[in-house]
Amino acid sequence: MSPASRPTERPVAELQTLRLPMWNVVVWNDPVNLMSYVVWVFRTLLGHSREEATRLMLEVHHRGRAVVASAPREHAEMNAYRLHHHGLWATLEEG
């Protein structure tokens, strides 16, 4: 490797130590939204597979909440906003 290429290695290593903190998007149980609708939202909005979307919906239903996505804060807030647009009770917490 030539000396000229070395400076590009440092930022990569530094970036690895400067990883952005992750935030969890939590969806809470509620007595109105339908199970089928929640699965559809998880499928279309978050891109979960049918199996994962169903598993998360059941976790919300039985345990009261589920972490449905994790991302850097700005991205997590966008997901929470989109879930609110779909009427789901979504909150954010540091991962």
Partner: protein, 174 residues
């Protein structure tokens, strides 16, 4: 005949005139959210993003409120427009069907919240086992006798049918 039938990227709609009349009330219902200062539907549709952190929650609301209001308004307009032309063109494209699903769900939340069905969320998870949160258990008198809660059930059956067809269109059965 089913009320919704998936056909590729479209959904065919077959609603009775009485059903269309009922649904035509929904845009006005949703447009009324927040008109009264103590409207419980307002809080239900806009939950705190950061429970226990009022400052962060307010900042989140400040950043998203305008866009969220506009998105909901666009859904209502799309719903009203497509409902109005159902007799001539009983078809929903995927974007229109998604707006229908959201409007039906939002209307259910608004009606339920205004009838005291406010369980769920972080507070309910702390107070009660989630299995105890149930629409039928929380309503008094029983929902079968309350026209507005009957409407919640009816809109739920419509939403469930439409979601089932959309999932079918995604390549999976219900």
């Amino acid at each position: 005949m089913s009320r919704f039938t998936a056909a590729g990227q479209k959904v065919l709609v077959a609603l009775e005139p009485e059903e269309v009349a009922v649904l035509s009330r929904l845009p006005a219902l949703l447009g009324s959210v927040g008109a009264a200062w103590d409207d419980p539907a307002q809080d239900r549709l806009n939950p705190e993003a950061y429970p226990g952190d009022l400052i962060a929650s307010r900042e989140f609301s400040r950043l998203t409120e305008k866009e969220l209001t506009e998105a909901r308004s666009a859904d209502r307009e799309r719903f009203a427009d497509t409902l109005h032309r159902l007799r001539e063109r009983p078809v929903l494209h995927s974007v229109e069907a998604a707006a229908w699903v959201r409007v039906l769900g939002e209307a259910r939340l608004v009606l339920a919240a205004r009838h005291g069905v406010l369980g769920g969320g972080p507070a309910a998870a702390e107070d009660d086992p989630p299995e105890s949160v149930d629409l039928v258990e929380l309503t008094e008198p029983p929902p079968e006798t309350d026209p507005e809660l009957l409407l919640v059930d009816y809109l739920g059956s419509l939403q469930d049918d439409l979601v089932g067809e959309l999932l079918t269109g995604m390549g999976e059965g219900t």
